[in-house]
Symmetry: C2
Subunit: 259 residues, 2 copies
């Protein structure tokens, strides 16, 4: 995409290389928008990329806007800190969210609930501290994950399923009559949850049929389908938010709860 | 404030009674905006208040917009889910945030980082599950709180202090040259942290002088000062986010770290 670089400011996604993590929610939106972007940490240092370049805006002692942590998104002089904030911006600029007032705030509120879910998923493998390895907090991880699978996964998934069921425009998309960044994020958390806890969410498609259909609907969007086949898409792995540790999984624990 | 009710839609804050919690961030913004509002759970049931009325929008099987959890804010037909989303709206409508594009997104990004801090504070006393009592997860709470005080409090407070120091408009306010909802939220988390962990943050004002000055600057805002003296302000207590459990506190642990 280097041919567009000289023409206008392009998006710079600042996030770690090697894991989908929180950056993936922004990546999916940029891909669906069809916007060229630079994934800074994944560029070579010769192209002003790499981890040092990715983190540089956080360390800038002159900047007015200071990101707390990756991911953040830059376009020209504008810096957008925090995943949901970047999506709010992309939604407005690229038709990835409703343009009416209620629709815009409804989409953003849903994204913030998705962010809460993502934080809870992270804490299943790091319930005590990010400064400790998983192996050093495994008993607490087991207790937290069991409660998460038993209580929280059904609570969140029942809620998102109900949002689809109650959408006055039909149950094809989360908000209104067309796809938004919320749908892309739902795709990612459903995929991630099935990756991390395959036994616990056995029967996902029966328990939450509208979410399962939405997952497939997003996967079939032309730009998303092309992206998922590209080397730009990073697979889930045990450095990310959604990690598959077999000792934390429990067959049927999330899907056997009453709706 | 009932005299204004018949004139125009008024804000309805939906949050639990008896604790400041996440609702307090919205309450502070409404108070500083000088907007009349109804704190639904704290009204009598004869006035269409109470907990059942507070939760009703979450249980509505016809509504297009469904809050996941309190707090949420309603004005007329508009429903604003999630604390930071409600503040985004109030900031735009009532001059509680910068109106330029970067300023608006910068303020919101900071609020989302404050929300992350609030979630981490909550998990100090509930590291394993909300479905368990504090007493049933005390060993994990001790471990998580120690890591939080040692690593996370300094990381967040150093960051917020640096945001003040690097504000091109001066270090009086977090974003730009006048007070925003971000300053009100910083006031609340500084107060809350000092309430919950008085020993761990001994010397707070020396460690983070700009944040300490901001706390006092917010406290002295005319409308905030009046609010803090009113019965509408709820004291911190052990039902909220910021809880004082002496066994979790460690003298100097958060303030003795290098900056």
């Amino acid at each position: 995409m280097s041919d567009t670089r000289s023409k206008r400011p392009h998006y710079e996604l600042h996030y770690w290389d090697g894991l989908p993590g929180r950056g993936e929610f922004i990546r999916l939106a940029l891909e669906e928008a069809g916007e060229p972007y630079v994934d800074v940490a994944r560029e070579s240092t010769a192209e002003h990329g790499g981890v040092r370049a990715m983190l540089a805006p956080m360390k800038d002692r002159q900047a007015a806007v200071i990101p707390f942590a990756p991911p953040f998104l830059k376009i020209g002089d504008l810096t957008l800190c925090q995943t949901a904030n970047a999506l709010l911006y992309l939604g407005e600029k690229h038709g990835l969210a409703p343009s009416d007032e209620q629709g815009k705030y409804w989409a953003h509120g849903l994204q913030l609930t998705i962010a809460d879910y993502v934080s809870e998923v992270h804490d299943t493998h790091h319930p005590l501290s990010n400064a400790l390895y998983f192996e050093d907090q495994k008993p607490a991880a087991k207790a937290r994950t069991k409660a998460f699978l038993e209580h929280r996964v059904p609570k969140f998934m029942n809620y998102f399923e109900r949002v689809l069921a109650q959408n006055p425009a039909g149950d094809a998309w989360m908000v209104g009559a067309s796809r938004s960044y919320v749908d892309l994020s739902i795709f990612q958390i459903v995929e991630g949850t099935q990756y991390a806890f395959p036994l616990a969410v056995e029967g996902f498609d029966r328990a939450w049929p509208r979410l399962a259909a939405l997952r497939e609907r997003v996967r079939a969007l032309a730009r998303i389908a092309a992206y998922l086949e590209s080397p730009r898409r990073l697979a889930f792995n045990e450095s990310g938010i959604f990690r598959h540790y077999p000792e934390l999984d429990h067959r049927g624990l999330a899907t056997s709860q009453p709706g």
